[in-house]
């Protein structure tokens, strides 16, 4: 980002123009799976923001439900109606509308929990890496112990202790998700603090807090982008598992996972659409996120190039 030459008459490219001309964008455009991944993710973002205005009913407004329309199959099957494309569940709820509202809850949980885990993990990682010593040892031992347990299991235990609820799901996910940031950030912080610019900042008498926030932090963030992207997908899956087991979100705020659980009870009677479609949407969402994550990893991690 060098300043333009004072005598140069060429217009200064805007930030956006620079982005479109960058190698990153060039690689992105040529990478089919990256484009596909971002289209899927954008589609979901569109669906959860605009979707509720487009679907025919609010599935959680009892007044809009019609029990006569219960268990209608998808529109293309015999007995289906064009009003309910993906069919209805036992309360006459439009499956598609439930999916739109459910995706919103799943995605919000994934994003908010990722933000929380990132904040907590990065803070602890910076502290551990910069100050070292006993604090470092304690934080990293906790991380080690936690990593020896699978996240789903840890989250399941936390939920069994807390009880169900959106806020509790978030706490459980943040508690299992911070470790990966803490370890990554600690590693890069250790490397960065050896470098001359940090030494220089120290010599110039800057307080530690400022060195960490202004000098170290910006230089340890890049690897986190990949971790954060993929974690949203992981969190959506863990939340779905918790809700499926009945220890996740409450029935009044059903995520995609809870929709699958509700549909599971009627699966054996052949009413497959109630549970199969929500699962298909989870798969699509997480697949899109993972495609994007894979691309970012290849681009941002120069070691792998």
């Amino acid at each position: 980002m060098a300043a333009p030459h004072p005598l140069s008459s060429a217009p200064v490219p805007s930030r956006l123009q620079r982005f479109f001309a960058s190698e990153f964008f060039h690689n992105y455009r040529r990478n089919l799976s990256a484009v596909l991944g971002s289209l899927i993710v954008l589609g979901f973002l569109f669906m959860v923001t605009i979707g509720p205005f487009l679907v025919s009913q609010n599935p959680y407004d009892v007044a809009q439900l019609d029990l006569m329309a219960a268990f209608k199959p998808p529109a293309w099957l015999a007995g289906g109606s064009s009003e309910f494309w993906l069919g209805t569940d036992g309360q006459g709820r439009d499956v598609l509308a439930s999916i739109v509202y459910g995706s919103r809850i799943s995605l919000i949980i994934g994003l908010v929990a990722m933000g929380g885990a990132c904040l907590l993990g990065t803070t602890l990682g910076l502290i551990a890496g910069f100050y070292g010593g006993r604090l470092d040892a304690i934080i990293m031992r906790i991380a080690d112990i936690q990593l020896s347990f699978p996240s789903v299991l840890t989250a399941l235990f936390l939920m069994s202790a807390f009880g169900t609820g959106l806020d509790k799901v978030l706490i459980a996910l943040i508690s299992v998700g911070w470790v990966v940031y803490a370890r990554t950030v600690r590693g890069s912080t250790l490397r960065e603090t050896q470098k001359e610019y940090v030494q220089a900042a120290r010599v110039s008498g800057l307080p530690n807090r400022k060195i960490i926030l202004r000098h170290v932090l910006p230089n340890v963030l890049t690897p986190l982008i990949v971790v954060a992207t993929i974690q949203v997908g992981t969190f959506v899956l863990i939340e779905a598992s918790l809700s499926f087991l009945g220890v996740g979100v409450p029935v009044t705020q059903p995520s995609l996972g809870l929709l699958i659980k509700n549909g599971f009870d009627v699966l054996f009677s052949g009413l497959w659409w109630v549970s199969i479609f929500p699962g298909l949407f989870i798969m699509l969402l997480v697949f899109g996120i993972n495609l994007l994550g894979d691309f970012l990893r290849d681009e941002l991690n120069p070691r792998l190039k």
């Binding site: 996240s151 789903v152 499926f244 549970s275 798969m283 495609l291």
Partner: protein, 321 residues
């Protein structure tokens, strides 16, 4: 090597102790088990007596000390629901879980190794790209949902395989197992496939990445120059070295399988420890949750210990400090 082993052993004990503290703290927060024991119309006196019997009238420190000394002696208390020692309940159901976990692991390895080697050795071929896309789908789908799709298609529609339960079991090495009879084995197939998919997909990606790295090494070039056949290069020089890091993920793999067994067992009504855990969480059966946690922790810690020691033995490049 000896010093390293001792050091890891001490670490193991520390981890288990930390888990016991965490479990105790968590359990102290999850409501009062007194009300599991007394009738709804119990008098204050009865409640006080129940609390005395459970030891809840003492300080947390005393409670923790008793908890710790009991579990060290293998006494985890009795299940509130089954009125049996919690440990017995876990041990009774363990073979069922080990059975699907073991079969899922074998299936994952049998599929992941050849596909991973192929994709790693020919990274540019369309078939390799298809394999990688498939593994990404495998990572992205909720395993329990896949189990439901299998139930619907294979069990409900086609009626090829049973959809739930364990089927007949026979005694084998002192355990009740179902793989010994055809009917029992048929019950195993769907749960094992469901459980294996996630692990299979991750394994395939790891093997592929390792193969890509290994195939760049000088000794592979040298083997080519020497005129070794493609098969020898791929399997003797390539795969053998790519598999070493696989040993380290064994512990993680086992952990994931045990964790996802809770979901798989719930869907297929498979009477293992995972289903026992989920049922116990619903019923607030605290002793069973505690024993599950400690048991699984012990299992992970021991497996990781064995893995670390094996890794140090297999790969001489690893210098143990």
């Amino acid at each position: 090597m000896f010093g390293y082993t001792i050091k890891r052993l001490i670490q193991m004990v520390v981890v288990l102790w930390a888990v016991s503290v965490l479990v105790f703290v968590m359990m102290s927060f999850t409501g009062d088990p007194t009300f599991m024991m007394v009738p709804l119309d119990a008098t204050d006196e009865q409640i006080a007596q129940a609390r005395r019997i459970l030891g809840l009238d003492e300080s947390h420190l005393v409670q923790y000390w008793r908890f710790l000394s009991n579990i060290v002696q293998g006494d985890f208390g009795r299940s509130f629901v089954f009125r049996q020692p919690a440990m017995t309940l876990i041990l009774e159901r363990l073979p069922a879980t080990l059975e699907i976990v073991f079969l899922a692991m074998v299936m994952a390895l049998l599929v992941a190794i050849p596909l991973g080697v192929y994709a790693g050795a020919n990274p540019k071929k369309p078939a390799s790209r298809a394999v990688m896309a498939g593994s990404l789908v495998g990572i992205s789908l909720p395993g329990f949902w896949l189990g439901m799709v299998l139930i619907f298609v294979v069990a409900v529609k086609l009626q090829w395989l049973p959809s739930s339960g364990r089927g007949p079991t026979t005694e084998w090495l002192g355990m009740r197992v179902s793989f010994t009879s055809w009917e029992g084995f048929r019950h195993l197939i769907l749960p094992a496939i469901t459980l294996s998919v996630g692990t299979l997909a991750i394994l395939m990606r790891i093997i592929r990445a390792e193969m890509v790295e290994v195939m760049k090494q000088d000794y592979i070039k040298f083997a080519r120059a020497k005129g070794a056949t493609a098969k020898v290069i791929l399997f003797k020089h390539g795969l053998k070295n790519a598999l070493i890091p696989l040993v380290t993920v064994f512990g993680l793999m086992l952990g994931d399988l045990i964790a996802f067994a809770t979901l798989t067992e719930t869907i297929f009504a498979w009477p293992g420890i995972g289903k026992l855990l989920v049922d116990s969480i619903y019923r607030g059966d605290r002793p069973v949750i505690v024993v599950y946690l400690m048991f699984v922790a012990l299992m992970f810690v021991v497996v990781n210990f064995i893995v670390d020691v094996c890794y140090a033995l297999i790969d001489p490049r690893i210098k143990i400090k």
